[in-house]
């Protein structure tokens, strides 16, 4: 692909995002709540698009395409399990979180925990824990952009990742959540439209239509149509941490606070479900189609690059930009959310100067992730896998908000114990009984949460006393 054309394409995309960001800036009022959650005034469509763009990173078009190429529809099952679980969890938890956030003026998920369990220490622990777990995940996004631009357009790795850093800082600092949400809407539309164009081109032009595509699959690659191609324990081990992603990852759970009203929240859930389903189905179909067209690709991460090298240059460029957009939209959301957590849990949200501190934190977090990516540690990929398992340790505390016997001791100990299990097992490479660390993390954090909640007493006159499960 032409280097000049690629840079021109990225420039057009970046300028379009800047124009959107500029409009967002003009609409943005003053204050921390306005900066971090747009004063809870995001409409359903934008909320759905930012939720989608935050959730779906470059893993989909690069990682999942390659995974499907190797293990077939079992990778589809893992991704669909995540989607179904997320939509169902949103159906139950989103209105509750939204209402609690509004009633108790919570801006971050960790602030909600602090208020519910009446423990500032808990908020700080969750903030630091999320930071440790999410930095490798952010670095992987930078690395993905760097490798892709280097491989497809011959743009040096260090320049590619630096471009990403500039784009992320621009969109995030300019107008906070409103800018991130609006530009995310642009990114998600690019992601969906480009993937639709690509899949139709591959299947209709390269494979002579769906009928022939399915016929080749059944005759030549029927093993890819078996759910058991991926070992069952691995399937469970990958699926379970992602099933609770909507609650455990602060960058997505914070999005339950931003909707303008419950109608917007409802629309957010429906449109995210539709987006997630279409995007997943398209990406999986691309992985299967790649196997039919190019059955001998040795490295799964390069399958998308191979596909793109066989489509018209303009289409390849749009898809390339969509992959960059997917990474950028994920990283800017994580950066903004982590910044909000640090600002509120460590600096408090009253002082005016905190907006300056918030922006300074954004720069600090983004640069840390960027510097991490420059080292090109192989271990970063493993660390990012660990992060999804590690973050599972906070799930009992978030779900336990609605359990009247839950206490701060239960919450703190479950997070520390569960997180330690994930870190120790991944660092030692130990999978006791063949069961993946995410499952052990879930078991340990649930047991410790329940046990320590039952043996410790909750504070008197809790502000959330009225919260009951109906």
């Amino acid at each position: 692909m032409s280097k000049t054309l690629t840079i021109l394409g990225i420039l057009i995309w970046f300028v379009t995002g800047c124009i959107i960001s500029l409009f967002a800036n003009r609409k943005t009022g003053k204050g921390i709540s306005e900066f971090f959650i747009a004063n809870r005034k995001i409409n359903g469509f934008i909320a759905a698009m930012t939720y989608s763009a935050t959730t779906y990173s470059s893993f989909m078009m690069v990682g999942l395409v390659g995974m499907v190429y190797v293990v077939g529809v079992s990778a589809f099952g893992f991704e669909i399990t995540y989607l179904i679980s997320t939509v169902l969890l949103l159906l139950y938890f989103a209105p509750k979180y939204w209402e609690l956030g509004k009633r108790y003026n919570c801006i971050t998920p960790s602030e909600l925990l602090s208020k519910r369990y009446e423990s500032n220490s808990l908020g700080k622990i969750v903030t630091v824990f999320s930071f440790i777990m999410l930095i490798p995940y952010m670095s992987v996004q930078f690395m993905g952009i760097g490798y892709l631009l280097e491989g497809l357009a011959n743009i040096p790795y260090i320049l590619g990742t630096f471009i990403a850093l500039i784009v992320i800082l621009t969109y995030t600092i300019w107008a906070g959540m409103r800018s991130v949400a609006w530009t995310d809407a642009l990114q998600s539309l690019i992601m969906l439209i480009s993937s639709i164009l690509l899949v139709f081109f591959i299947i209709y032009v390269k494979l002579d239509g769906f009928k022939n595509f399915f016929s080749i699959l059944e005759t030549e690659h029927s093993d890819l149509l078996s759910a058991s191609k991926m070992p069952y324990l691995k399937f469970i081990g990958l699926s379970v941490p992602w099933m609770f992603f909507a609650l455990t990852n602060p960058q997505v759970s914070q999005r339950m606070f931003i909707a303008r009203d419950k109608k917007s929240l409802k629309n957010m859930i429906i449109m995210f479900a539709i987006f997630g389903f279409l995007y997943t189905l398209i990406v999986v179909s691309l992985g299967l189609a790649a196997k039919c067209l190019f059955p001998a690709v040795s490295k799964s991460d390069t399958v998308t690059s191979v596909l793109l090298s066989h489509v018209p240059m303009l289409l390849a460029l749009i898809v390339l930009i969509s992959i960059v957009a997917a990474s950028v939209s994920t990283v800017n959301s994580i950066t903004l959310t982590l910044s909000s957590m640090f600002t509120i849990d460590f600096f408090k949200k009253s002082a005016k100067k905190n907006l300056f501190l918030a922006k300074l934190t954004i720069v600090f977090i983004a640069i840390i992730a960027y510097l991490f990516s420059l080292k090109r540690f192989d271990v970063i990929v493993e660390l990012s896998v660990m992060s999804s398992a590690g973050l599972l340790a906070v799930a009992p505390s978030y779900i336990g908000i609605f359990w009247k016997k839950s206490t701060k001791a239960g919450a703190i100990i479950s997070i520390l114990a569960g997180g330690s299990v994930a870190i120790i097992m991944y660092s030692m490479g130990q999978f006791p009984l063949g069961i993946w660390p995410g499952i052990w993390t879930a078991i340990v954090s649930v047991i410790t949460f329940i046990f320590f909640s039952l043996i410790t007493t909750k504070p008197q006159n809790m502000i959330f006393e009225s919260m009951k499960i109906e």
């Binding site: 529809v73 079992s74 589809f76 099952g77 669909i80 399990t81 989607l83 179904i84 679980s85 939509v87 169902l88 969890l89 159906l91 139950y92 989103a94 209105p95 509750k96 209402e99 399915f214 699959l217 059944e218 029927s222 093993d223 149509l225 078996s226 759910a227 058991s228 069952y232 469970i236 699926s239 099933m243 009203d261 419950k262 109608k263 409802k266 859930i269 429906i270 479900a273 539709i274 389903f277 189905l281 609605f402 919260m467 009951k468 499960i469 109906e470």
Partner: protein, 62 residues
């Protein structure tokens, strides 16, 4: 908290049922397009229709 989209007593059985069949049935289906592949297309469609039903029946959100 009366403005829930779904109550816990309804949510939990649905959530568990959907996930149990998601984690079991596809692994017994044949290696064909109408096997696990089709199953994992239909399961979210049916689930999301159910979700939309729960979201749309509470008109007082409008």
């Amino acid at each position: 908290m009366k403005d829930n989209f779904i109550t816990f007593k309804v949510f939990l059985p649905i959530y568990l049922f959907v996930l149990i069949i998601d984690f079991s049935i596809p692994f017994f289906l044949p290696s064909r397009v109408i096997g696990a592949y089709l199953f994992w297309i239909l399961l979210p469609i049916i689930t999301f229709i159910l979700v939309i039903f729960f979201l749309e029946r509470r008109k007082h959100f409008e």
